[in-house]
Each structure stands twice: as structure tokens, then as C-alpha cells.
Symmetry: C2
Subunit: 208 residues, 2 copies
């Protein structure tokens, strides 16, 4: 068994605890709302201790984005990828996304929708990191659709279908927050189904 | 000719100038970013003068929402309503929405998308005012679609079609801000057309 430095373990635990709190705060109040002072008070840690971990507010914001990306990948992508590539996986990815929003994995709904709208029109490292996650996600969604096209289950343009599907996900998340009800999830589910039905190759078994 | 109190006229001009500036600021930085001190400095007006007009930050925020709603109605709704009810008006309303975003009528893109995401998960008078505008807009969009159904030009559920169309508009606006390019407008235009084509009654002349 490898010998582990106790200070390193505690440091890592602290870092994880800070980031779990910071993704939750940012999903509700945005990344601008993150403050090292507030986090330190919340978690009963000294401000100097937090600075030792993150150095600056911007570093904390960037680490928060990376932590949220991991949670998003674990919640939305990993379970959908247990389904075989093809139409079934497109449907599973859509279902996992809507569940991720509905279950409030982050208390403020989709972390990335909240903070990407906050930083959409700005410049700098935080905007760039969010844009990178956005491209990564849109590429993944497009690849999942393309696999269904390559298998002869869907027809059409993968990039366009990915744009449409993502628009429904975002609209559902936004409606649930603003309206305070679940109606948007049913509307999004119906929209996804109608859109996929319009692209499905006749004879393909459908997962809905 | 009616006698007009010069102070009232000047007061009204000041109010309009303040609100024109405040909708622009809020579209970029959000309604939380509005401050009476900053506006006063920007416009060379005394803080006490501004307080005389708006009383509190919340009253300024609510007046800003009303001013933005008027600009939105003038830019998106009024021109589309010059087109006869039916599929043509659905298409015109969609085109006006995309142009409103693309032309940056507000420098931060769609005012309502920016500030509604900011306040979606909160409570209070500002959230409630934004929810009211949201319902008003969704009802208008649904009515425009319903008129096309009533005229035998479209089939389907008007509420669902309104949800889908609005999702494309919002996705295009968001993409233009985050990505800094215009690709989302073409994708949204294609999505709108595909969605309407799937609902159009055969034989109906199409406006695209």
C-alpha cells in the first residue's frame, strides 16, 4: 500500500468540498456571485487557506467550471453511453439531459445554461472556458446523431439535428426555472419525439 | 394648443433618456448591474434627480422591463402584424425575432433572454414582471400559430409549435453571443422552416 501524505489528502478533500459548494452557488447566482470570502465563511475555512488552493477568483471560477463539467459528464453522458450507438442513444441522451435538469443535480438547474448566459457576451478566460465546454458538448451531441445516421436509422444533417435537440433541452430547463413548473419537460419531450420522428428511417424500431 | 408645463416635458425627456440607457446596460450586464449611481454618472444627472424619478433600484428595474417590452413590441410584433394572419404571419414573426436579435436592437442581444435567465430562479417583483412578459409573449406566439391552424394552413397543437419555435429563437440568440458568430441564425431559420413544413397543410402557399 502506497504511503499517502495526510496533508495532501486533507488538501484534496478541502478542494473537493469547496468546488462542490461553488458549483451549487454558481448554478443559482452565477460565477460572478462566487466569492472566496463567502465560500470560506460557508465552509468554515480560512480565506488564506482558500487562496492557497485557488490563488484568485478567476482560478476558482475556472476550477468550478471543470468540476461542473465532470458532474455533467457523469450525469448526462455516461448513462446515455451505456446504450448502443444509434437512435436509442440519441433518445437516451435526451432523456438523461431532461432528467439532469428536472432532478436539480445543480440547485439552479443546468449549471452551464446559467453561467453561459451570464458570460455569453463577455471576453476573457471564463468566457473562453465556457465556449470550449459548449463546443465539446455540441460536438458530442452531433457525433451521437451522426452515428444514428451512419447506421441507417436517421436521415438529415447531424449538426442541424443537434442544434434543434439542444434548443429543446435548454427551453425546458429555462421554463422550469422561470415558470416554476414542469410543463416545459413534457413539451421538450414531445418536441424531441416529433423532430426525431420526422428524421427516422421507416422500419427503424423506435425507443419511445 | 394645450399649455404644457416645461418642467414636466423635461422630466419626461429625462425619464426616457434614463430608460433608454438602462435597457442597454441591463441587456449586457443584467438588471442587477443597474445602479442609480452609475446611471447618474453616465448621463450627467444628479443621483437625487434620478431617485425623484424612480424611487428605488427595484422601481428602476421594473420601469426598465416596461421600456424594453415596448421596444420589443415595436421591433418584433408590430412589423409581423402588418402581414395577414396565417402561416405568413408565423413566418414573419420568426423572421422579425431573428432580425431583432441579429441587429442588436439591444447591445447584449435579446434583453428578455439575458435578464430572464438572470432572474429565472429568484423570487420577487422583478421575477414576476419577467414571468408576465414571458406568458404574454408565449400567448401571442401561440395565438399567431392558432390563427394559421384555424385558417387551415397548419395542423397540430399551437402551444407545442409555439414552444418549439421559441426554443429556436432563443438558441440562435444565445449562440450568437457565446460563439460570437452568426451561424445560429441560419440554423434557427432552417429549424423553423423544417418544423413548419412538417405541420403545413398540403397545397398551402409557403412564404419561404
Amino acid at each position: 500500500m502506497e504511503k499517502v501524505d495526510g496533508r495532501l489528502v486533507r488538501g484534496d478533500q478541502t478542494r473537493r468540498a469547496v468546488l462542490r459548494r461553488s458549483v451549487d452557488i454558481a448554478s443559482v447566482d452565477g460565477l460572478e456571485g462566487l466569492s472566496i470570502g463567502r465560500l470560506a465563511a460557508d465552509l468554515g475555512i480560512s480565506k488564506s487557506g482558500l487562496f492557497a488552493h485557488f490563488g484568485s477568483k478567476e482560478e476558482l471560477q475556472l476550477a468550478t467550471i471543470r468540476a461542473a463539467r465532470r458532474i455533467y459528464a457523469d450525469t448526462v453522458v455516461t448513462p446515455a453511453f451505456e446504450v448502443e450507438p444509434g437512435l436509442g442513444r440519441v433518445w437516451a441522451l435526451s432523456a438523461c439531459w431532461l432528467e439532469y435538469s428536472r432532478q436539480r443535480v445543480f440547485p439552479g438547474g443546468c449549471f452551464f445554461q446559467k453561467v453561459s448566459h451570464e458570460y455569453a457576451g463577455r471576453e476573457g478566460a471564463v468566457h473562453d472556458a465556457l465556449l470550449e465546454v459548449h463546443w465539446e458538448w455540441m460536438k458530442l451531441l452531433e457525433d451521437v446523431v451522426q452515428a444514428a445516421i451512419d447506421r441507417g436509422e436517421l436521415t438529415g444533417d447531424a449538426k442541424q439535428l443537434a442544434f434543434d435537440l439542444n434548443a429543446y433541452y435548454e427551453a425546458a430547463n429555462f421554463a422550469s426555472l422561470l415558470q416554476g413548473d414542469l410543463a416545459g419537460y413534457d413539451q421538450a419531450r414531445q418536441a424531441i419525439r416529433t423532430r426525431l420522428e420526422s428524421a427516422v428511417v421507416p422500419g427503424t424500431p423506435t425507443p419511445w
